[in-house]
């Protein structure tokens, strides 16, 4: 048993930290998304270092992985610093292309991903298909030499700056619902695509944007089919295991908790009221610190498993625990602030400029994104504990 990082791992971590210290300007920080020119430029610099294609074959533009955990260390450090991360493009899209696609598609898309040429939207969700993603209806109709798509997609976060849609569509309406979905790569500037912005709840000006995507007779060339026809659901599930791990590290919660503790330490109100001297508040912070430590440990479990396989169960545990802790700590912070917890960004006296208000309002979002807490717990119940699928037929015990 060895919980220590190796000298190589520490050296890589230091390299990443140096990079962040040099390049993470105020303009860049604040979101995980690569949605502005400054953030694109930041990720370009990572690409120059070969950090996007680590572990992928060189002929596709990949680079040698300096150490097995490089990808993980990179994600955690970026997340810890509040920098854009590359989990989705590399973790979901590139991995699936490498595993499932033709040589031609690999040659076309992998080098672009590793050079940060164009962002990707994961275009799965529909009004009728959220958690039950297999219920999606938006069809791709085989027109002989291409597929044609008419319908709509909801909550497509990166659609307004993406170059490509990694889109899941129904290709067989008659098959059982999980067996009639395919994934395609669709150019975001294809004729017939239009967007309606949707703004997440939060303080004006810093809100997280997502989109509804309308597709009107959009043509997708047959060469843009990912892997095999009607296997899309399985590719999505595989990638989700990866996404939960690659995109959502626990580090952002560690960062948030650090900010909260710093604020509490320094806050002072009338009547010599220093929250940090209140024994009840101290106990509450202690309890949260414990949960943060446990979250870090679950992530550790995930990393260790990831060295050998896709850590599906561990990632689900990490997700369920992390998102819950994230939500609870924002709430704890507002509890400590009392009425000052009302104040939004820009208000005079707003603690941490209203940061925790947004975090609180959006905390539930982290609980539902990328297969939510409850879905994650179902995965744990089924895959780790071996309990039967609650949505299936009764599975009676052997007598």
């Amino acid at each position: 048993m060895d919980f220590d990082w190796s000298p190589e791992e520490l050296a890589f971590r230091d390299e990443v930290r140096e990079f962040i210290a040099e390049n993470l300007t105020e303009e860049v920080a604040g979101t995980i998304f690569i949605d502005t020119p400054a953030r694109v430029a930041f990720v370009d610099k990572m690409a120059e270092r070969g950090w996007l294609g680590m572990g992928f074959p060189e002929k596709y533009g990949g680079s040698k992985k300096p150490i097995p955990l490089a990808q993980f260390i990179l994600t955690v450090e970026l997340d810890l610093a509040g920098a854009p991360i590359v989990g989705k493009n590399v973790g979901v899209v590139a991995n699936t292309i490498l595993n499932e696609c033709s040589e031609e598609m690999k040659m076309e898309f992998l080098p672009k991903i590793f050079k940060n040429e164009g962002q990707w939207a994961l275009t799965y969700t529909e009004a009728c298909a959220g958690t039950d993603i297999g219920a999606m209806q938006c069809p791709a109709v085989d027109m002989g030499d291409h597929f044609e798509v008419t319908g709509s997609k909801l909550f497509i976060t990166s659609a307004h700056f993406a170059k490509y849609h990694w889109i899941a569509l129904r290709t067989d309406p008659d098959a059982p619902k999980h067996k009639g979905i395919s994934i395609f790569i669709m150019d975001a500037d294809s004729p017939g695509i239009s967007l309606t912005p949707m703004h997440c709840i939060g303080t004006t000006g810093t809100t997280h944007r997502t989109n509804e995507v309308f597709l009107d007779h959009v043509k997708i060339p047959k060469s843009r089919l990912v892997g095999e026809l009607n296997k899309g659901f399985y590719y999505m599930m595989q990638a989700l295991d990866y996404e939960r791990f690659a995109i959502l590290s626990f580090a952002s919660r560690v960062r948030r908790f650090g900010k909260i503790v710093d604020w509490v330490k320094n806050a002072e109100y009338n009547g010599n009221d220093r929250p940090i001297e209140d024994p009840v508040i101290r106990r509450k912070l202690a309890r949260m610190a414990t949960r943060v430590e446990v979250g870090t440990m679950l992530e550790r479990l995930c990393i260790c498993a990831a060295m050998e396989r896709v850590p599906a169960v561990e990632a689900a545990m990490n997700k369920a625990y992390g998102a819950t802790v994230g939500a609870d700590m924002a709430e704890l912070a507002l509890d400590i602030m009392g009425p000052f917890g009302y104040l939004w960004a820009g208000a005079e006296h707003a603690p941490l400029n209203g940061y925790l208000v947004d975090e609180h309002l959006m905390a539930g979002h982290a609980r539902v994104a990328a297969a939510g807490v409850d879905t994650a717990k179902s995965i744990v119940a089924r895959r780790l504990l071996g309990l039967p699928n609650a949505l299936g037929k009764p599975v009676l015990p052997a007598k």
């Binding site: 048993m1 919980f3 430590e293 446990v294 409850d374 089924r382 609650a390």
Partner: protein
Amino acid sequence: MDIKLSEEQVQLKEGARKFMEDECTGEFVREMEKSELGYTKKMWQQMAEMGWLGMAAPEDCGGLELGTVDLVILAKELGRNICPSPFLSTVVIAGEAIARAGSDAQRQEFLPKIVEGELVLAFAYQEYTRKFEPGVIELQAKEDGDHYVLDGTKMFVEFAGGADILLVVARTSGEAPASSGLTMFLVDAKSEGIASKRTPTMARDHHYEVGFSGVRVPKDRVLGGVGDAWSSLEGVIEKAAVVFSGYTGGVCEMMHERATEYAQQRVQFDRPIGQMQLIQSYLATLIIDIYGSDTLTFFTAFNMDKGRRVRPYVAKTKAFAADTVNNTTNVGAQIFGGIGYMEEQDTTLYLRRGKQYQLALGGLDYWEDIIAEELIDVENPTLLT
């Protein structure tokens, strides 16, 4: 980074599991609850033969000098079967205290006997106070020639009735709340002036209230520096807290396995209740806590073995393990429905222990104050990564 057990550790774990399954059944645990001693000399001897009682002791005292990680591995197996034995007080607390603070003569006198299973020690620390801080200790030890004379009362002394030696923490100078002025004594349990009575507990384990009335202890039974107990005892308690967290981790593991198995077997509304999402949610939520607690326990044990400063990590480990064992035994029992609360059901052995274990060896108040202190008051704390 690799958190798998080594081959030797897997052997330790598997050997311990097999022994516990064979010897430490629910029936045995119930028998022990009703027995005089609370454990059997036979099992204690077997534990010695397997090398368990010598795991922590230094090599020059006949021990194996293994680390906290190994103790946690073993403690988890003992916890799975809620093994009634004075392992914690004898091996982890007293043995460790003697190894750290004892003179050469004391080490040679006591440790080989602990290793051989010839000596059982109880830890007499807690007094008539809700608090666990050392500063509240009032039991007086007054110097009298070549002896000290002890007067006062200790409470919640586990296995005091079946112990040969009591490790007593007493006040030789100063007064509450100072943690200085405390001294450790190795007191012969048969000394004149000691009166023990068993205190019934919800776990039905063997706790005693021990009165000391003019108990004379020779000076060569002072352990460590006079007035300086806490400088070595704090580390001993930290180690015990981590090992105990391993033990309660085992309790959780077993309770959870049984509840999961029951959920797969118990059919209601024409399906196993484990196929219902609400039941799945309970079980999944618990197992996530159990995995987290387990990993944190090993993380802290590992760093403790490296000689690093682990004070905040010990506190977090103990606090979380405490909550987890209480939760797991409570919710686990609930999965069983009505039968989960019937005396003859073995899982009630676990339910009766969960809450008590949460409160044991320093409750949440004690450990959370340490966490707060380390989080808030310590400038530039060292963080383990």
